[in-house]
Structures are given as C-alpha cells and as structure tokens.
Symmetry: C2
Subunit: 634 residues, 2 copies
Amino acid sequence: MAGLSSLLTIHLTSSDSFVTRKESAVLSTTLAESEESLKAKANEPKRRVLFYAAGSGIPEVKTILSGFVIHGYLGGRTLFTKAVGLTLSVAAGLSLGKEGPFVHIASCIGNIVSRFFSKYETNEAKRREILSAASAAGVAVAFGAPIGGVLFSLEEVSYFFPAKTMWRSFFCAMVAAITLRFLDPFGSGKLVLFQVTYDKDWHAYELIPFLFLGVFGGVFGAYFSKLNYRWSRHVRNGTWIKTHPVIEVLLVTLVSSIFCFVNPYTRMGGTELVYNLFAECRPGSANTHSGLCVIDPSSQAIPVIRAIFVALLVKAGLTCITFGIKLPAGIFIPTLGVGACAGRILGILVQWWQYTHPTSPLFAACKGDLNCVVPGLYAMVGAAATLSGVTRTTVSLAVIMFELTDTLTYAVPVMLSVLVAKTVADALEPKGIYDLVIELAQLPYLDAKRDYVWGSHEINDVTDRDADAIRMENLNTVKSLRDQLFSLVHSGNGDSGFPLLREDNYGQRMVGYIGANELEHALSIVADDADEGVSFHATKPYTHGGAMSSSLSSLAAETGSVMNYDALDFSPYMDKAPLIVSSNSPLESVHQFFTKLGARYVVVVDGDGYYEGVIDKKHWLAFLNELEEEKKSS
Amino acid sequence: MAGLSSLLTIHLTSSDSFVTRKESAVLSTTLAESEESLKAKANEPKRRVLFYAAGSGIPEVKTILSGFVIHGYLGGRTLFTKAVGLTLSVAAGLSLGKEGPFVHIASCIGNIVSRFFSKYETNEAKRREILSAASAAGVAVAFGAPIGGVLFSLEEVSYFFPAKTMWRSFFCAMVAAITLRFLDPFGSGKLVLFQVTYDKDWHAYELIPFLFLGVFGGVFGAYFSKLNYRWSRHVRNGTWIKTHPVIEVLLVTLVSSIFCFVNPYTRMGGTELVYNLFAECRPGSANTHSGLCVIDPSSQAIPVIRAIFVALLVKAGLTCITFGIKLPAGIFIPTLGVGACAGRILGILVQWWQYTHPTSPLFAACKGDLNCVVPGLYAMVGAAATLSGVTRTTVSLAVIMFELTDTLTYAVPVMLSVLVAKTVADALEPKGIYDLVIELAQLPYLDAKRDYVWGSHEINDVTDRDADAIRMENLNTVKSLRDQLFSLVHSGNGDSGFPLLREDNYGQRMVGYIGANELEHALSIVADDADEGVSFHATKPYTHGGAMSSSLSSLAAETGSVMNYDALDFSPYMDKAPLIVSSNSPLESVHQFFTKLGARYVVVVDGDGYYEGVIDKKHWLAFLNELEEEKKSS
C-alpha cells in the first residue's frame, strides 16, 4: 500500500510538473531568443543564440568576471526566469541541482543592486568585485557553507581575487548565512544540509579504500565530463534536437520519470538520497535509512549493493543527458549522489569483509568491534572525490564538504580523496566540466590557470598588422570616423577599436588607442556635425583623476568626472598610454598582460619604437586555440 | 603543598632555561652577525644586522616570497638555530608561540630540499612555489589545521598564489597533517589542539556580545601592534638595549617569571591557558578547569573575573615586550590567550546576568535553563577576534579556529567577530603586526594589497634618468664593464643593473637590460681577458626555451640550457625585451607591473619610443614610502 501510494505520488508529481516544465522551458527559450542580440546591433549571418536562463550559469559568470560583457545576462528578466524555472525544474524531480543556478541568481541580484550606486555603475572593476562576492553568497546559501562559498568563488568562479575582495566576499557570505539561519527554510534551526552524527575516528588502513574512491572519482569525473561534452556536441547540437529544445526537455523528463521506478533510491530526490547515503546505521535503531543499513552482511549485503549500484548507473546516465538541456540546472547534487552511491557500495563491501574476517590484522584497530566500519563515511569521501573529479576544485570543495556535514573529524580522508580525484581527472581530461561548457558555448574565456607551450611562435605571428587605424595626418571628420567604425563593427570586431597613428620619418608612431565603444559614444554626441574635423590632442601627459582611458581601465582605480569642454576633441575618450610590448618580447609577457593585467589590447612596437600592429584579446584567444589544435594534432 | 611544588617547578623550569636561554640567544646573535653580509660583498658604512633566527620569521618569508633574496635566511644553520632556540624559548615559559617559527622552519626545510632538484634550484619562481607550500605545512602542523594552513599561506604569507600552487600546498599540508596524526605527539590520537566538547547552539541575542568582542579584538589588535612597534623602535632600538640583546632576553625572562607568580592563570603555559578558557563547565563535573567554572555567579563571579583580568593584563604586557626580542618567538598563542581571557570575562558576565535575570525577554531563547550561556564559546570568539585584530587575516583565521576547536557549529559568531575586529583594527592602524615588523626591519617589501593615491605625481617624477648605462657606441671591454659594475655595487645598488643603449638620430634607443648579477657572472667567465671587447648582439628575436633573460624571469616559465658559444658575447645574459612603459602612462600601470607581473625594473620611453630612464623596484619602493609620508603630513 505504502509502496503503491509513494509510486503514485511520484508519478503524479512528475506528470504534474511535466506541464509546468514545458511552460518554463518555453519561457526560457523565447526569452533568450528575444534577447539574442548578443554583441552587435547589425544583423549578421551566423549569430549564436544563448539561452540565458539555461544551464548552471557558472561558466557564463566566469566569463563575465574574466572581463567580457554579455548584455542582459545578469538582468532582471533572466533573474526572474531562472528563479521560476529553477523551482519548477527541481520540483519536476529531474536529476539536477540548484547550486549553479543559485550562483547565477545571486550574481543577477548583485548586478541589479549595483546599478543603483554610481560608484559601481560606472566602474566595471568594482562591479566585478560585487559579482565575486555575490557568487560566494550564492554557494553559501545553496549549501549553508559560507566559507566554502568564499573559497569556491576564489578557486573556480573569479578571475581576479585581490585580498580586499576576499574579505568582502566573506562578509557577504556571512550575512547570507545569518539570514538563511534566521529564515530557517528546512525547519531544523541549522545551516547544515547533511549533518552526520557519527563521530568514530577513521583508521589508518581505511586510507587504502579512500584512495580507491579518489581514483574512482577522478575517472568518473573525467569520463562524465567527456561524455556530457560529446552528448551535447553530437546528439544535442548535431541532430534535430537542436531546434526542438522543448521536446528534448519533455523526453528527458519522460525518461527520468520512467527510470525513477527502478528502485527506491532512484525514486528519492537528490538531496534525500545523499542524506540517507551519508547516514550512520546505529545498531538497535529502528531507522534503517530506507533499507540502506546492513545489519547482517552475509545475507543483506548483495541485494543492497545491487540496488545502490543500479541507482548509481541510473543517476549517472540521467545526469549526463540532463546537464546541458535548456533548463536551469546545476551539477553538484547529482554528482554528490553518484559519488555517495559508489562510496556506500565500497563501505558496505569493507564492512562485509570485516564481518567475515574480524580477526584479520588489517582490522586490528577495530579491536573486534563489528560496527567499526561506517559506510556513511565512505559515501561522504566518495561524494567529495566525484565532485572534485567533475569540477576540479580542491580546497573549496573540501571546506564545502565539512560545512555540509558539520564535521571536521574526517578532514584527512576527504582531502586525500579530493586530491587523488583531481590528479587522476586532470591526467585523463585537462578541462573540468565548466571549462568544457565554455568551450562548447564558444564563450571568449581566457584561462589564466593554464600553461601554454609557445614553441617557436613569435609575437610577429600574432600581431594584427592590417588593423584599421585612424591616421593623424588625414583629416578625420565625424563622417569618416563613422564609416570606419561601421566597417569595423560590420566585420564582427565591434568590441575592439582603432590605434591612432601618426607618420614619422621612417615609419608610424603610435599616439594612442580608442575603443569602438568609446568612439561610438563620442560620435553620438557630435552626430549632427558630419563634416566637422575631429581632433585627438594627446600632448598632455596622463593626469590622475581624469578620464579612465587606460587600457587597464577595466581593472584599475576609480573614474573621475570627464570635463569635456570641446565635443570635437576626442582625446578624453582615447587611451593615451596603451600597454606597449616590443616585438622581440616572449609571448609569455603578452599572455601575462592579458591574464594578470586584464588588458583588452596590446600595441606591438619594433626595436625603434615604431608601431607594428596590435593584438587584441579576441585575436589572442584565437591564437591560443590554434596552439591547442596544433598540440593535439602533433 | 601542591601549590608550593608547582611554584617550585615553575621557578626551577624558568631558571633552568634561564641558562639555556642565554646560550640560545648568544647562538643566534653570533650566527647572525657572522652572516651579516646581507646583500653585497663590499663593506659599506651602515650595514644592518638581521638576526636570522630571531622573531617570528613570517615577515621575512613574506619578503622573500615577494621576490627579494635574503642570503642564508633559509639555510641549514638558521634551521638548526631556530629549531633548538624555539624549543628552549617555549620551554622557558616566556609569553610566546611556536607557529611563526614553524612557518620559518618549514620554509628552511623546503628551501634545503629544493636544492637537490635542479628544476627548483635554477628557477626562483618554482622555488617560491615550494616555499608557499612549506608555509602552509608549517601552519598545518603548528595548529593541526591543514586547510587553515593553506589559506594562511594564501592570505598572509604568499605574494603570487596561482591555482596550481593552491592545490600543491593543499597536498603538502595534507601530508603534514597525516604525518602529525600518526606521530601523535600529544598522545590524544587527534590533530585538534583545543577540542571543545559543547554542542549547544548559540542564540540570536548573543550576536551583540560577540559584536563587542569583535570591537575589543580590533581595538586591542591595533593598539597592541602600535605599542609593540613603538616599544621596538624607541625602547629596544633606541636605548642601550640595542647593543645588548642577550641582557634584554635575560631581563624579559626575569620579568616573565616574576609575573608568573601573580595568579594560577598567568602561571599556566599559553596552550594550557587557552585550552582551559575554551572549556565548558559541565554541571556536576568534578573538573572545574582550574577554578574557571562559575557555579554560583553571585559569589564566585567577581574573584574569577578579577583573576582572569589580571591574567589578561599580564599576558598582554609580557607579549608586548616579548615579541621582537632576539629569540624565535611567535605571536599566535599569546594573542589567543589574551583574547580568550577577554571573551571568558564577558561570558561570565553574561552568565551572571542571566543568573540574576532568568526571566528577562533577552534570555527567552534559553527557556529558563541556567546553563544556557557557555563562557567557553565567548572565549573562543574573543580569541578569534583578537588574533584577527593583530594579524588582519580573515578567512584563514576563521578556518584555523574551526580546525583548532574541531567544531563548525559556531561558524557565524566566529566569522562575525573576525570581520568586525579586522574592520575596526584597519580603521585605527592600517598595518598589521607583520607589516609593522617589515617596516621596522626596513625589509624591501612591496605591498600588493594596498591602494595608493597617486595625486599629481607622474612617471617623470620617479624615472631615474641618470642611471648608469652601457652604451653600444662605446667600446665595452671586460675592464670597463667591471669598473662600471664596481661603481654600481659600491653605490649600494648591487641588485639593480644597466640599461643597454644605442645612439639614434634624435636620442637614445633602448637595446636591452642586463642585471648586475648576470653581468658579474658573465664577467667572471672572461675575467682573464681584461682588454677584450664585449658584444651584445641583440638582433635575433626572443626564442622560447632560450636563456631566461626576460624581466619576468623571476616569475615566468622554465629555463632552458644556455648555449654560450662565445664567452665574449654577453647577449645570453641580457634581457632583450624588458617591460616598456610610455612616460605618459598612469603610475598605476607601473605599480601593476611590479606587483602583478613581478617586474624588477621597468624601462620608460617617451612618445617617440626614445629611452628616458629606468625605474627599478628599489626606487619604486622609495617613491611609495615618500608618498606615504606626504599623505601622513598632509
């Protein structure tokens, strides 16, 4: 009876949300498509459609924090769609989590709030600090893990993380945690999601199974990421599904609800499953944690292991096809579930072994106690390892695990398995799941953490010599500049700009640089005087507190007020001192200019200081991708 | 009887170590003096003496990680002196801790081990990664806090901390923690030093006293640092004590042993005191934790509070005069002790209040339970706040506190007080104690975390136009270069170098830069051919895998083998592409070149690409100090 009623409930819930699911999916697709004007105004042939509210959001927030602008991604409409869609998709019982979307939602709120303060509104760098702090708060509320949140923001999400941002994020996460505690949504009066109650210490021999769990986590993480990438690339984007995301969502929901009936563990929600797998079986207690407790291994072990193993396969398969569909969907909880299944299986096996060989010297530390092995601990270690294999975070993940389970007793096992998993996964597949999503979505993300082998490449191979420039010796009218800008934008380089050059005895000297956006703004002010000449007086040296026109502007100090006396003098909009690099410099310096200083473009000069060309971030990324390809093909 | 014997024991221990103390002090001073050749070979007028084994070591390790070289600071002799001296000085019962010296000891070991691997021996950047990881391990073993150690290394000690270093440090700290656990020096089978046993949750009203503790921690931290700085500057270095460090040590030991007799809490070791202050008083338990437990507040509270208050004053005073004497001495444990005293006092007061007003609405959450207030929790929060006020760390400190006490239940109170303390302390005194020690010892540390206000200064104000240069149009013989090098070293700039210039039509062009050390090495090979001409062919562009001659060398990728065919061709030793900055750039870019890219020098060129001068790190530091002074005086 009870079984039948639970089956019915599950069935009703899933078919109920079947309908609402569709709505939410439609909502996100239409919304995204209507906002498809991603980076330019003109209609161009191949324009990619980003579904803003879909997926985890962490890869996109990473890209935004690395210095790119995705218009509307952190706006109010996305916030609304994501929040509603997330509620519906979690309620549908799909194999997905809520933490990635929480980071995205927190970033949206941070972004919207920052619009009300001109200090943040006008300064991209300051705004990014807010987004870093918001990400920390997002993880803090998703897991009740304030410190883990700060570290996750530092390790995975943020690009620049100065010490100041660190303790601001810390403050933000703390306030989020206090608020969460007083709102008390779970009714437990605790922040902790998966509180574990056991306090038995671990034994030295257990490091060996923990090591195995680490290896499992690494292998699983690498192959899961690869499979998910291939599925997304070849099945989702390679077949008719590409144009029918809503049907895909319906199919996945159908498949999920069918597989739910396989056994009680697949039927549970992700959070509930992880909670039960982590739990300790107390001898004599009536709570068997949904039959996971094995009292007499010789008879009970095999069916329980079989059930958990089936749950593992179903969870892994469903997560693989679910992550990436056009729904708000995180990866943490499903991954934790898979890892906890694997850990619990190993834990029961060790328990069984100890039960049959209680006198083995291996178990000497147990002193004959048959309740010495805690399978819940293995589940916890396995979950940490798997998550580390998938996301490739280390310290932040370990801290999140401690805060999730409210225990520090197992610091060493968790750390060990996390490190082993990361090492193994990195060896099998260098990119974590977020980086693969970035690659898949072709987001312009410059990875500061990777080492590149420059080989025999030189700066001259990258320099863009033919970049359209504004020449001082010509008469630059508003109209001529507008034409130049138009052709630049039309060629798809609307986010770069023009070097300003003047003729010298033997070559060209660099006077400055003006970004396309700045030029557009300057031109819009004087749009009526099409034939007026425009001047770029760059005689005065840079004065602090003036207009932020440096190429470092996106990261450096505050802006002052622009005192623009002559609307036709464009010098307040130009970067009078772009970063210069000599053409015989190592490519590593250029890379560091982009990654560490956050430059958007670098001007290349020859040994005599003459202008040779520019390298902008887009070209640099393209060059790095070529480098990758070369390495792969060789 | 017991009291008398304990007094005798204490007296004996302190006078015993009195003698050994002297030895250790003598050892460190003589050793340091014999190694006084700090940075140059020539004897110069004012040479500062650094006592390598004295103090905490963290400021010096910070300086080394920021890119400066202190010869011998991380050598075997320092290691030995520090290890022996630390054992003796802790045994002497002085008011000092062991964690700072542990970081130094770990760094020494890391440095010595790295000498055996040529990959690390030849690459400063790799070696610094090892030192970062070693610092993490040092804190990990000092507190049994592996994750806190990694974060401390990240937040306080290290300068560059890429993601790769993060998980390597994590690995290092984990191995250290596992080793410590299996060696089990405390015989408890646990890593945890101050395990707390209470698991009562905190109540919302308690956030107010915690806030007060945060303010106390901040005020104490700021004034303690200031007082210690003034004591060091005016008393220690301003009177006859300066030349008699051994007598100072003897006097401090004498004063410490006299004040020890004041009451039982001052008599305890630092660790023991903190342990007892953190402990919970269980009603009915025979363990009164050295009389700290207040069963009946109306009669017991006042004498206990008075005793703890006296202990607080004595501890604070002794620590203030002890930190900085010529002994291996850390600051963590004494600070924790002071903070725990303050917290315990407040805790007993709140307990007393609740005892007298059990029905007050404030204590409604207690539901009339008279054991509702845990003074040990207040002690823990107070300790965290005080330490945060002194060292200005936030996240790492919170994590260290959790790992020290093995509980995460009080995450929010600890985080709140830590943040309040840091904010208050920063407002009163912008520099933490380590930065003050750096200032006192005049170590060349460039603080990447601070914001400078550049005002109306320009690059031209900083550029060193008169830097001695090597001119291409002259005949540079081995002898002439040796003379130039000699005069450079003699003027105290042995760690800078020469720009290489050639005459052009209207000015000078920069060809490259050669560091004094590289030049010296190159000259030493051809020292016999005094009149031979030396060439600097810099025609070929930079090739990767060649000599590390970039100004980024100290931080960038690996070195290749130097194929030096012609000993008189010095081009392998020169930096063919130093970082260039245009003279109208903002000063912020120069600052970022130094802090983010780790440059040692920057070449300034004018708008036409002609050489204007150089800025080396030393000049930049001097300029920043001037800026500080200006700000203070205005």
